[in-house]
């Protein structure tokens, strides 16, 4: 039993997590909130170490913590800004794996004597933690483009998933009614399998929502482990993350115009998107001088930055071009789609890194009416967020997603590496529009050339 003084400190840690979440939802207090959470967590870990200081495994435990700390710190420092969403997915996955492991070990120790609630909480932690573990790794593979970002539909995949889920349900009941270690291990394996099956059919554009959902899952697994261990702080922290994560998932889905049920269950009926049916269709491309002239003669330019901009590390160069345009008296705005980049808010993080002033960043609702009065919409490394088929084509995987109305501008310039479709794997009709001009190449090189041409213009 945890001593009372430790319980009181744990209550303090739980409160720090609540304060941290609250502070993290406002720009002014976000950094402070993150630190409050970190301090609360550090204190809670110190307390549990002091309470259990008499264990004969203290040294191995400390070594394990040191190893985890080193890995976590190095990974967090080294990861590229563009790769942060998948880093979060990995951190989430290992947390889910830890929760499942904890529940299995506790089951081995306590076993059948734990009572009904203990057993239910145990199977819940094991299944949900395992789903989160493998599911997060699949989202990582998708975002890192180590596997296709398109929906992967196995033959009879839907029935396999349903069968595995049913089997997991049966084994769960089995463990609760007649506790058995081998059955619990089998359940763990099914959970791991279920995580893979659950995420495979999810399309690229929906992956961020799934990461957020799996984050909520891990939270709930941790909450259930609080029941398993009779630890109130774990219960509170896990439940907080589970609830906040669920709401955040819904907010993200809303920002992307994707009803959550579509994301989750639409994937079941997803068909692998047909690869470019229009490979040989003509497009209009131009050189950097022409692009510079188009920009130089404009009065109003709206820039649509996308993930390709960040991958090319071209934010600074873009800013230089924008500075040259504004110096000529041209009105320039950045149009930020809520899910530009890989995740809601990701583009804001990326542009903030390049010191782009906040007041030039306009959100979708604010900037969309402006496009019709813009001479040029300059789309840099973005694709899906300006794809008009989201408005019109009911069969499109991105149908219903709110988009930036770049097609309303007088002229549209795309800076793209190739004709490859965007992350959602959908062909973009706007590329073939007569008012569209393409400049092929790496975003940074293209922008550098345009900047040079603007100087001589």
């Amino acid at each position: 039993m945890t001593p009372v003084w430790a319980q009181v400190i744990n209550l303090g840690a739980a409160i720090s997590f609540i304060v941290a979440l609250k502070a993290l939802s406002s720009p002014k207090t976000a950094r402070w909130g993150n630190r409050i959470g970190a301090i609360g967590a550090a204190v809670a870990v110190a307390v549990v170490l002091i309470v259990n200081a008499d264990t004969k495994y203290l040294v191995p435990i400390l070594v394990a913590i040191a190893v985890g700390t080193a890995v976590g710190l190095v990974a967090a420092q080294r990861v590229k800004i563009t790769a942060m969403p998948q880093m979060v997915a990995i951190f989430n996955g290992v947390g889910g794996g830890a929760a499942a492991t904890v529940a299995v070990i506790e089951f081995f120790t306590v076993g059948a004597t734990g009572g009904l609630v203990f057993l239910i909480a145990t199977v819940f932690t094991v299944v949900v933690g395992a789903v989160s573990f493998t599911g997060s790794f699949v989202t990582f593979l998708k975002l890192q483009e180590l596997m296709t970002s398109r929906p992967v539909v196995l033959p009879a995949g839907r029935w396999v998933t349903i069968a595995v889920a049913l089997a997991a349900a049966v084994l769960s009941v089995w463990v609760v009614v007649a506790p058995s270690a081998p059955v619990l291990i089998a359940l763990l394996v099914l959970g791991l399998l279920l995580g893979v099956l659950f995420v495979l059919p999810v399309g690229g554009a929906d992956v961020p929502i799934i990461i957020s959902l799996l984050n909520a899952f891990t939270g709930l697994a941790v909450a259930a482990s609080g029941y398993v261990l009779g630890n109130v702080m774990l219960l509170i922290a896990g439940t907080l993350v589970g609830a906040a994560g669920t709401l955040l998932t819904r907010l993200m889905a809303k920002a992307m115009g994707r009803p959550l049920t579509n994301t989750l269950f639409g994937a079941f009926s997803a068909k692998a998107t047909q690869a470019g049916t229009s490979v040989d269709r003509p497009v209009k491309s131009a050189g950097p001088e022409d692009i510079a002239a188009m920009l130089g003669f404009a009065q109003k330019v709206i820039i649509v930055p996308g993930y390709g901009l960040a991958v090319a590390q071209a934010q600074q160069t873009l800013r230089e071009v924008v500075d040259m345009l504004t110096a000529r008296g041209i009105e320039v705005d950045y149009a930020i789609h809520p899910v530009a980049g890989r995740m809601p808010g990701h583009m804001n993080v990326l542009l903030a890194e390049a010191d782009v002033p906040y007041d030039q960043l306009k959100e979708m609702d604010e900037v969309n009416p402006e496009f019709s009065s813009a001479d040029v919409a300059l789309v840099v490394g973005a694709n899906d967020v300006v794809n008009p088929s989201a408005r019109t084509d009911k069969t499109s995987p991105i149908y219903g997603m709110p988009i930036l109305d770049a097609d309303a501008a007088q002229q549209v310039i795309f800076m793209k590496r190739s004709m490859r479709p965007g992350f959602a794997g959908v062909e973009n009709e706007l590329l073939f529009d007569p008012k569209t001009t393409l400049l092929f190449g790496d975003a940074k090189e293209s922008l550098t050339k345009v900047a040079a041409a603007l100087k001589n213009h």
Binding site: A20, L21, A30, T218, L248
Partner: protein, 111 residues
């Protein structure tokens, strides 16, 4: 009269109240903070480390010890990495004097 509340009921009470708190505290988040907030929430559930330490400290077999230590490593990566990566995201939102930015170190990841 002493307070008598069944432990299961007490835990259920805490659970339900925590759901409302979790929902309420982030209900006003702005879109630009979705990613950092998710990352911060992700770090918080790394507190499963506490659970991993408890079961490892009471491990009775070598197998339990090994898996317990594994859980500690995983949970610590979640906890420490989660807070560190959130900190790095939020650093970019900070108003800075110009030209102080260090170049980004080369990452192990490819994209």
């Amino acid at each position: 009269m002493s307070i008598s509340l069944d432990t299961g009921v007490a835990l259920a009470t805490i659970f339900i109240l925590s759901i409302f708190v979790g929902y309420e505290v982030i209900s006003k988040v702005s879109v630009i903070l979705h990613t950092p907030l998710m990352s911060g929430a992700n770090a918080i559930h790394g507190i499963i480390l506490v659970g991993a330490i408890i079961v490892t400290a009471h491990a009775k077999t070598t197998l339990e010890l090994i898996f317990g230590l594994l859980a500690i490593v995983l949970a610590t990566i979640n906890l420490v990495g989660g807070f560190a990566v959130t900190e790095r995201m939020l650093q970019m939102f900070k108003a800075r004097p110009k030209q102080t930015k260090a170049p980004e170190p080369p990452g192990p990841t490819t994209s």
